[in-house]
Point group: C2
Amino acid sequence: MQAVTPDHLLGQLRWRYAVKKFDAARRIPAETWGALIESLVLSASSYGLQPWKFFVVETPETRAQLLPHSWGQKQVVEASHLIVFALKNGVGADDATRLARRTAEVQGVPVDATDGYRKMVTHSLTSKPQAEVDVWMTHQIYIALGHFLTSAALLGIDTCPMEGFVPAKYDEILGLPEKGYRSVVLATAGYRAADDPHAAKPKVRFETTEVVESI
Amino acid sequence: MQAVTPDHLLGQLRWRYAVKKFDAARRIPAETWGALIESLVLSASSYGLQPWKFFVVETPETRAQLLPHSWGQKQVVEASHLIVFALKNGVGADDATRLARRTAEVQGVPVDATDGYRKMVTHSLTSKPQAEVDVWMTHQIYIALGHFLTSAALLGIDTCPMEGFVPAKYDEILGLPEKGYRSVVLATAGYRAADDPHAAKPKVRFETTEVVESI
């Protein structure tokens, strides 16, 4: 594979920051947005379970409705795109079956051939309390968020990950319970405003020697 | 910034998979590894708290000791590198102070100028039970994992994220409690073995229409 150089990668990652003010007039082009959606689909997850759905809130009215439940963070309405990362409710045996069926389909093998895998995943999901499964699956959502932030930075797209919102209100407004999901975390994406004061501030990181240790 | 093209990004992400068998003879060159470490340092986190430490287990004997507590997954000893993503114990007011001090230092402002931020972060961390803070901070670790997997794929480095290990045993062997940390998740990195049967299998993902919804 033709990889990017270390300098190129780090340049993009240093350029990334959590945008406070987006340029509300600029939209991400369809091709780039399609690649970002595809990068989400390609995210890693435990056993490949993909226990998620990514809700892209398109309607301006809906985004305006969400704003009062977003700790006043205007990125929710000003960014080109808003994604609600949602967790599937009650991930369990059915999801293992669904994954096994899809595996057979994609890999062109009989469903029987995936039965060992289905049983292993089912056991793993059903041998612990649902609350514990939910915690575990929620972690996968954050892997997807990390994928998304990095992929966007590589494409030159600005983002802001957002945990400051009221999940119950988001769920209600977006009708997520009826769909079988609940909101976990948000990402907004687009282009930084020329006057976002945060854009020019040096990135604050602890010394590498403080956060990385060889043992 | 000079971004990568959507095709280039997606090519690297499709090339990525969770490696089951690494080429034990190949080591990641120092420059590339340095960039991966730097990409971890640059990961996003709530309030920029960076509630983590990335332990790179170098000693072959230590890696061999960890193997029996890794569900028999040989990546732990065969991959070029093994990183233990660890959470800082008891993240709280002291961490807000540390972050404020570092912010003042990096941005060249008096510590007093960061006091509002310190107070806000302190309030956020101390107004909820420590268990809840730990859950929240654990999520940040998974953002870093997602960053790492994507960054590595862009650099043409293979990885395997691993949740299948015994954290208490890892903590004990690596002496993490004395250092004030506990292990959360692992990543191994290196080069896929030519005979890893998983390398050739088509990637299994649900249809985009099943995991992405516009509303």
